[in-house]
């Protein structure tokens, strides 16, 4: 990594900074980790130290913080100083938000960029945060699993919901958007986590009352599209656990993935009204699907057939998911010792 400095004019040579005496880096008495700086960064930090010591909150201070965080977006101290300066100068925070949008385009990422954004939205406190929600949706397109972004989206909704500014329609729109994300990539674990929030965990979530069947069908259909999708299986098991539902009633939807000989597979009854696997299964589906076998084993335990469940765990341990033999052995022993 190199920084071109040939055209850089040191701050000491700029009229604007005439009156400031820069404070040089003090690495401590016997630096174990002396820092070598590029001229520009060192210069900016020397002046920042002087400004901060004098607690100067001015336009030039603001500009200086921007210069520094463009070079080093993780510098906590400088971000904090920027925020307090913005507030003291009563700057237009929506303009600052635009600047942050620009930062994002230039790929200046850090925890601090996100926290700064959170503070800005808190201060701006718009009556309708849709513009920001839309912005976050857009920013997820090139980076659909960014943990910061999803956590921020969660904060946005929680915060503005508490202020009474999220309508029922917005929740519905958000669900549609989440479904679109999962349509694009059914394996996006972050999107599944968001769906859980929208459908189960958020204040006012409706699934418990009358949406359970739809929710189960949604996740079953996802499994049928991508049978090895861990996120979808976790979601299914999460639903059953959370709502205290038995596994057995859904078995018909799962059995085709267990690679049992077709002669032993029961026929799917006419009145089975949950989504069933495609016939034939999607082309690239290696069988059996380990999580389907786990489902089967857990259903067998539910039915009191512990010995049979133990055999399924044994197959997982020795043949179908050997990497996790330790876990499957534990499950098998549990069955046998019951």
């Amino acid at each position: 990594m190199s920084v071109a400095t040939s055209s850089y004019i040191p701050l000491a040579e700029r009229n604007l900074w005439n009156d400031v005496k820069p404070i040089a880096q003090d690495d401590g008495p016997n630096p174990v980790v002396p820092i070598m700086y590029s001229e520009e960064y060192r210069d900016a930090m020397d002046y920042f130290r002087a400004i901060a010591a004098a607690e100067e909150r001015s336009e030039r201070a603001l500009e200086l913080t921007e210069t520094i965080i463009r070079m080093n977006p993780a510098h906590y101290t400088v971000w904090q100083y920027r925020m307090t300066t913005l507030l003291e100068l009563k700057k237009d925070l929506e303009e600052e938000l635009q600047l942050m949008n620009e930062f994002a385009i230039q790929n200046l990422k850090s925890y601090q960029v996100w926290h700064h954004r959170l503070l800005l939205l808190t201060h701006i406190s718009p009556q309708d945060p849709s513009f920001e929600i839309e912005y976050i949706h857009q920013s997820l397109l090139p980076d659909p699993k960014n943990y910061h972004t999803w956590a921020y989206l969660h904060w946005l909704y929680s915060h503005f919901y508490t202020l009474g500014r999220i309508s029922e329609k917005q929740w519905q729109d958000e669900l549609r958007w989440c479904e679109e994300m999962l349509r694009v990539d059914g394996r996006n674990n972050s999107a599944w986590g968001w769906r859980w929030y929208l459908r189960v965990a958020r204040p006012g979530a409706e699934t418990a009352k009358d949406g359970l069947k739809d929710e189960l069908n949604y996740v079953l259909k996802s499994i049928h599209l991508i049978p090895h999708n861990v996120s979808a299986w976790n979601y299914l098991r999460g639903l059953l656990r959370h709502f205290k539902l038995p596994l057995t009633p859904l078995l018909f939807a799962i059995l085709p993935y267990t690679a049992r000989p077709s002669s032993t597979l029961p026929e799917i009854p006419q009145d089975f009204d949950f989504a069933t696997p495609s016939v034939p299964l999607p082309n690239d589906t290696p069988l059996p699907v380990p999580l389907a076998l786990e489902y089967l084993a857990d259903a067998l335990i539910e039915q009191g057939s512990n010995a049979e469940a133990g055999e399924v765990f044994s197959e997982l341990s020795t043949q179908y998911d050997k990497m996790r033999a330790g876990y499957w052995e534990y499950r098998r022993r549990e069955c046998v010792e019951e």
Partner: protein
């Protein structure tokens, strides 16, 4: 050489301890921009390097006086905390690293424990969440750091009972449908956040709030066919998850739910056998962050010649045992040779 170099291990490699010690000792001789741009991590970097040195059996690899002076120079008098580098604001992240370093250097008495205690206690929010500093960022990482810092200082009892309960409640709210934990309530389960939450609950003696089989299964599912561990479903493996996942599963008492040989092979393959250090995965550039977590993971797996590491505190087990802070966790027997 100054620039980061790429890992080059073959499938039959062993852990080259002398080389990695040299790598750690040479960290401060780097001259590049990347090094100074990470000044906000400097104190953390020393903690990573020092802990790795301890685990590799060379506690004196770094100059003790130099390290102590440096820690003290990071003191932020106004905040009553340590910053990551001189003239950086005090922050909870740097404060823990400073405490850990001073404990390892047997110089904890040189820290203003009263001021640090006050700084830490002030980070607890009414809803039981914990902020990193007065700026207000919230993250379960900070929850763990608060508890770890206070307990290492012997001041955990300064947390009032009602706040302690709030903290426990907040962590519970961060538990997800898959048994894992996220950064804030509702945030996706992530191996790093899983570790800080399980370790935090362990420090508070509230491991009962963990669904062990469910979380253990989720953690074991992090292991990919190449033996490495990832942070969440459908993401790439990374050596640092050898720590976050492994330490978590050790706290749960289920270390054997991870395939030991495959993980050892993966970590060893991420070494740079020319210039030292460990990378996030074989073929990538090394750094001290992945070096400590690779070595720590190997230690938990019983790799020969390494010292024991405590999975709750990510510090030498000897030191944690000596100060009486050891919590229940599983270990694998230390092997004599490997393979």
């Amino acid at each position: 050489m100054a620039a980061a170099s790429s890992s080059s291990a073959s499938s039959t490699s062993k852990l080259d301890v002398p080389l990695h010690i040299k790598y750690i000792q040479n960290l401060d001789k780097r001259q590049d921009l990347a090094f100074h741009l990470t000044s906000h991590l400097r104190l953390n970097g020393i903690y990573w390097g020092l802990t790795a040195s301890h685990i590799m059996g060379q506690p004196s690899a770094l100059d003790r006086e130099g390290v102590i002076e440096y820690v003290l120079s990071c003191w932020d008098e106004e905040a009553g905390a340590l910053g990551p580098h001189p003239n950086h604001d005090g922050h909870i992240l740097a404060t823990l690293s400073g405490i850990q370093i001073m404990l390892m250097e047997d110089a904890i008495d040189r820290i203003d424990v009263d001021s640090v205690t006050k700084f830490l206690l002030d980070r607890i929010n009414p809803d039981g969440s914990v902020s990193g500093d007065s700026w207000g960022e919230i993250d379960t990482r900070f929850t763990y750091i608060l508890l770890s810092s206070l307990s290492l200082l012997g001041r955990l009892d300064r947390v009032p009972q009602d706040k302690r309960e709030k903290i426990v409640e907040y962590i519970s709210r961060c538990r997800n449908f898959d048994g894992g934990f996220g950064r804030v309530p509702g945030a996706e389960s992530h191996s790093g956040q899983v570790w800080v939450c399980t370790a935090a609950l362990s420090i508070l003696d509230r491991q009962d709030l963990i669904d062990v089989p469910l979380l253990g299964a989720w953690l074991s599912e992090r292991q990919l066919p190449n033996g490495g561990l990832n942070g969440r479903p459908e993401k790439l493996e990374d050596v640092c998850y050898s720590w976050w996942c492994l330490a978590s599963i050790s706290i749960l008492g289920k270390l054997n739910w991870i395939n030991k040989d495959k993980l050892i092979h993966f970590i060893l393959g991420a070494q740079d056998l020319e210039d030292g250090g460990i990378a996030d995965r074989p073929g990538d550039w090394v750094d001290v962050f992945h070096t400590i977590f690779g070595v720590a993971g190997l230690s938990l797996l019983g790799y020969p010649g390494l010292e024991d590491i405590d999975p709750v505190y990510c510090m030498p087990a000897k030191i944690i045992d000596k100060v009486g802070l050891r919590k229940p966790y599983a270990t694998l027997p230390r092997m004599v040779t490997y393979p």
